[in-house]
Symmetry: C2
Subunit: 368 residues, 2 copies
């Protein structure tokens, strides 16, 4: 990258599928030069997939930069929100891709949050059995999904159940786009940032608590630092276990309960970050209840999340039976056993198998 | 494999994704022991995907064998025919998979022809981002799709445009199922068998011509030999180039024109084998017209195909403009250039780029 602004860079190490993440102010305006640097072919059209909310603000900026570098660019805009992540949207993207003449040397770019990234990424993974993919995240939450190559769409019965592993060529993270995020989305994104600290970095966890106000105020330096540290934790885990053979599952801290809450709430009522914040509190309680935690984990976890403006308990009208049912459908259960990621300490987690469902039910109740 | 019947075996060499193809009479009745031999987990349910035509004849035989070995087996039946190969069918399979409790250690089995193989294979590739896959082909044509791991569904604008590469654990080819094939499907399947000879095996091509009557009569020994030889050619090519970087494209002999004919005809009017038979005649003519062929190729190609009961010319009502248009949409075109697989001799082909579309148009006209 050239230019005078500071650009933080992080390399995700995955052998011949390694790729860099660029984080900095104004990077969308340098999309074209970055694409050239990474050798995206100019003979084949590029398709930018975005949603209505992000597209109206940033699509022009991204495509103008690419066009200025000599790329032929088409775009496809989906509705904003989780409901765009379905098989029908994939079919619609392919319609646009075919009409725009995308071939095997083409690139599909995701410009947006995690929903757009997952959807466009699955389109890139499956269009002609796989074309190049680039991520341009526009939310804090997407720092998580921009590392690791997990892409998917939802099914009415389960989230992220139809997908692939497909690594991007590079990730272009323009922190300017975060300034326009609604406060609730900022908080939701910070839940995943906090998760990465809780998983593997005690020091960064403490830093997040100290700097919670700056983060909530979307202060560029603090945010840029937090995004890079969050990405670094995830990148380390993914580089150890690209295909989720074992270790990678630690990234699911808070997600077993969290996904169930989202399913029961109906997609969209709880944000993803809110759901996993409650889920992380549940995991901490479970770790203490089972005697797995070597130090108090619930109090510091819930204190950090509360400082980040996130919920730490469950709205009382949620039905425990429905939540348990939703967990049974979750793809993190193998052969009927209940598996959880539990904190041993702040900054250290492990995967614990064979947890009795009655204990889980008790914890879910205790979160109300 | 145990038992007294002769089982022909062929290993597809793909490093840690290598797998065997078993070809023989009555193999569906030994599905359970083969699954055990390959270590398919018994704790996780298996889903057999089939179509109405095949399922009514063979589903019970396959599931009974698996159940006898202690597997929990669910099934999903799609309508017979190419129209089942669409995204909606994938969603339906996932509904069944979730209801049956399939998890990451589960296996999806394709019991049927190429359509079922491609659809169930894409389901296996994308369900939970990939579960185990087994092919049990019940057509001659499927000897082709059972090697190489290319799986996909169609889009209204293009065939096989949404898919993945996903190798099976093993292929179980029960030649008894071929006895119930309609004569037109036998001929269609033999087109792909002949294609494999024309690509790389002059001797096998001659054998096919000599034994055309036995093959058309579905004589078990002849057919079993032909399937193994056909699979062997394809397996050799695929093992050299799993992800279709270059060489693998030679398998598309006859497919550029063939796919266009299928698209123009509407899926189903021409069988796939009929379409590529005409396509291979076109490629042979094109090779002679461009001076690429080192010996006469059109006459022996069309003679072989005619002996196998296949069409060698184009129905005159087909619109040349529409065929050309369909070829432009074909994913085998990179950056707008026309690319064809052309025979240099019988049993030897190569990929030829930069062919002027006017010459292709002339050849299409000459096929009428």
């Amino acid at each position: 990258m050239s230019g005078t602004e500071q650009v933080r860079e992080l390399q995700v190490e995955l052998g011949d599928r390694s790729y860099p993440i660029y984080i900095g102010q104004g990077l969308l305006g340098r999309f074209g030069e970055t694409a050239e640097k990474h050798g995206l072919p100019k003979k084949s059209p590029i398709l930018v997939v975005t949603d209505e909310a992000v597209g109206s603000l940033y699509l022009e900026r991204a495509t103008a930069s690419l066009a200025a570098s000599g790329y032929v660019v088409a775009s496809h805009t989906v509705e904003a929100g989780e409901q765009a992540k379905r098989l029908e949207s994939l079919g619609d993207i392919v319609t646009t891709a075919l009409s725009a003449g995308l071939d095997r040397d083409s690139t599909i770019i995701a410009l947006g949050g995690g929903v757009v990234g997952d959807l466009a990424g699955f389109a890139a993974a499956s269009y002609m059995r796989g074309v190049r993919f680039v991520q341009a995240p526009t939310t804090i939450l997407a720092h998580d999904s921009s590392v690791g190559g997990k892409v998917a769409v939802n099914h009415p019965l389960a989230k992220n159940i139809i997908g692939a592993f497909h690594q991007p060529e590079f990730v272009l993270y323009d922190t300017e786009t975060l300034a326009t995020l609604p406060p609730r989305e900022v908080r939701s994104g910070l839940a995943e940032v906090a998760k990465h600290g809780l998983i593997r970095d005690r020091e960064f966890t403490a830093w997040c608590e100290t700097n919670a106000e700056k983060l909530l105020a979307v202060e560029p330096d603090a945010l840029s630092y937090a995004l890079r540290e969050g990405c670094a934790v995830k990148a380390w885990v993914v580089s150890q276990d690209e295909r989720e053979g074992g270790l990678r599952a630690i990234l699911n801290l808070g997600h077993t309960i969290g996904h169930a809450l989202e399913a029961v709430a109906g997609y969209g009522e709880l944000t993803h970050g809110e759901a996993i914040a409650i889920g992380m509190c549940g995991s901490a309680r479970l770790a203490e209840r089972l005697g797995f935690a070597a130090e108090p984990v619930y109090e510091p976890t819930s204190r950090l999340l509360a400082k980040l403006g996130l919920p730490t308990s469950l709205p009382s009208h949620y039905d425990t039976g429905a939540i348990m049912e939703a967990m049974m459908h979750d793809k993190k259960f193998r052969g009927g056993q209940m598996v959880f990621v539990l904190p041993k300490a702040i900054g250290e987690v492990d995967i614990v198998k064979g947890i009795p469902s009655e204990v889980v039910k008790e914890i879910v109740e205790s979160l109300k």
